[in-house]
Every structure is written in structure tokens, then in C-alpha cells.
Symmetry: C2
Subunit: 195 residues, 2 copies
């Protein structure tokens, strides 16, 4: 993807929420940095500082946590026009406690914490945009939590696929299982006829 397309994607994304003049948009775009990654590459690493958040242009990322028994839990998949990072570490300026890596080859725009705060301070509508975006994330997270407490694996699996059908083709089942918080064996058994 060339810079023009990347710019258009971000602009369309932001325009759905707030209005910016072309000059304002050019200005904020100048704070983003284009980056390309290969399948399997790590973008955010546990234990290292986190400086940026990432706007996905193409491909698919995952943010995940590995516990002491080396079991992986996926917090979020990130498809084009989604944002991702270790927000806990980013906002509180701690080292990362989660990882972000690439499920497929991917292109992102990265925005540093300082630059986000700077453009939020400088342009009120940008501040509004990021408030809106975090609201969305918060509400989605609450819904997922509720579904976790309320629904069994099969329901949650179907809910996920209904919401993001494209994941079915891109993401291997063991990662879907790690998102649902279930073992890959159990996920695999969901649709086998009961003996």
C-alpha cells in the first residue's frame, strides 16, 4: 500500500467520527509513521518499553498475554482500521506486559504516545476522536466480559464469527481458542456429533 492509500484509509476512518480540514489532517498525518511487518514478526514485546499505538492498514495482528504455564490468551485481534497496542503500558509508561505480533503480513501506521497527546492538545476534534474511539473499545470490552460470564464456548464462538466472519479464514483455530479462553481441543469438538 502506498502513502496515498494509507492516508486515505486513515482519513476515511477519522471522518466517520469527526471533521478535520485538509490542513489539519495533513498535519496530524505527519505524526504517523508507516511500517511494514512480515507474518510472525513481533511489534510489541513483553518487558520492553512501548512507545506507540498502531493503526492497521492491512493484514491481521493479535495482542496477547502468555502466562507462567506458557498458555496464551488473546486480548484482541486487529484487522484493517483497528487500533492496537499495550494501552496499559502505553498510558502508564510502564514496560509492556502483553505482546503484539503479526498473524499475517501487515502494514501499520504508528503513532507515538507523545504525538497522540500533542495532536490531541492542539486540535480539539482529534481529542474528541480519541475519546470516541476509546469509548468504543470500552463498551466492546464490557460486552465481551459479560459474554464470558454468561455464555458457553459454543455461543461465544458463534458470536465471534458472526461479528468478524473474516477471522474464520485468516486465523487458525488454536488462536481462536486462545481468544475464547478455551483449549483448542474443546473448540475442535464443538461441532462433532455427540457419541
Amino acid at each position: 500500500m502506498n502513502t496515498t492509500d494509507a492516508k486515505a484509509l486513515l482519513k476515511t476512518h477519522i471522518s466517520k467520527v469527526t471533521t478535520l480540514t485538509d490542513e489539519q489532517f495533513d498535519y496530524i498525518f505527519s505524526h504517523f509513521q508507516y511500517q511494514q511487518y512480515k507474518k510472525g514478526q513481533t511489534i510489541v514485546t513483553e518487558g520492553r518499553p512501548v512507545n506507540c499505538e498502531y493503526f492497521v492498514l492491512s493484514g491481521c495482528l493479535k495482542s496477547f498475554f502468555i502466562n507462567d504455564e506458557l498458555k496464551m490468551f488473546i486480548l484482541q485481534f486487529a484487522m484493517p482500521t483497528w487500533w492496537t497496542s499495550d494501552y496499559n503500558a502505553l498510558y502508564s509508561q510502564h514496560k509492556a506486559t502483553i505482546n503484539v505480533d503479526c498473524i499475517t503480513d501487515a502494514e501499520v501506521l504508528c503513532l507515538s504516545n507523545e504525538d497522540r497527546e500533542k495532536i490531541c492538545r492542539e486540535i480539539h476534534n482529534v481529542e474528541y476522536f480519541f475519546r470516541w474511539r476509546t469509548n468504543k473499545g470500552y463498551v466492546a470490552s464490557q460486552k465481551r466480559l459479560l459474554s464470558f460470564m454468561n455464555n458457553n464456548v459454543k455461543y461465544r464462538y458463534e458470536e465471534l464469527l458472526a461479528l468478524y466472519p473474516e477471522l474464520y479464514n485468516i486465523v487458525p483455530k488454536n488462536l481462536i481458542a486462545a481468544y475464547l479462553g478455551v483449549s483448542r481441543e474443546t473448540l475442535s469438538r464443538l461441532y462433532t456429533p455427540e457419541k
Copy 2:
């Protein structure tokens, strides 16, 4: 609590995050409405419209969901200086899908959706404050989700009490169980010596 104290509590709370002149604070405070509730009273009701979010001055609220089998799941407790509402319904202008009620007698300041948006638009630092607050909520929600997937009930119970020791004395165990997503019986058995 009188208006002066309520005002001071909100002001202190906001001042930790951003700076407002006295005039600005007086102005935004004029958009809040003081309300008093008795233990057990409902503030937000499933199926009804939601217009406001609530800043807790005193007492303890809970926001919760009741599923088809009448099982209750608690999304959040709200103690003094916490905010609560059905944010999903509030932002998207749908009817409430969750309830908010009072675990103890409580006093709140309520702020309508339109007024929040209005004061956010009018005062940049207020927009900043609400972005910051939602960030906090988002990060906390992600952490809880992770703990849910990663830790067993006992660990989550101790984590909750370590974070909010005051809940132990105020909130009955069946509600703690509903927050942890576990049956009250299991919670009750956590500390009985194994037979």
C-alpha cells in the same frame, strides 16, 4: 452531603487529571444534578432509556445484567468518585440492557449525555478529562478480562479484595460471587479446609 461538599469532591477528582479555572468548574458543575437514593433503589432499568451517567458521592452502587435464567452478573461496583451508567446504551442511544441500583443508601451527581457532550465541546480540558477517564476504564476492563481467562476463582477473589478492601465489609458475598462470575456456594467454599 451538602452541595458544597459534593462540588469539592468532584472538583478534587477532576483536578487530579486536568486543570480548570474556577469559572469553568462552576460552569460545568451547573450541568450536574444532585440526587439521593435509598438502598435497593434502581437508578438505571433494563429496557428503559438511559439519559445520564452518575458520579458517586457516597454509598455503593452496582451495575449488573440478569440473564434469561435470572442469574445476575455484576459488571462494576461503584464507590465514591467512581462513574457509572449503562455506557453502551448511553452512547448509542439505545434502551438500557443492564441495570444500576444501590447496594447502600447513596448520593450521586448525574450528568446527561447531551450535557457531557456539550461541556466536552465547549471546554477542551473537559474533553481531555473524559478521554482520560474512559482510558482508565478500558484498561481496567482489559485487565479484568485477562484475569478472568487466566486465574481461578480464589485468585480473582483475593485480587478483588486487595484492590478494593472496602468492598469486603459493604457488599454481601452473593454479590461478590456475581462479580467474580461464580456461584455463591463455590465462593463460600473457598476457605473451608479440604476434607
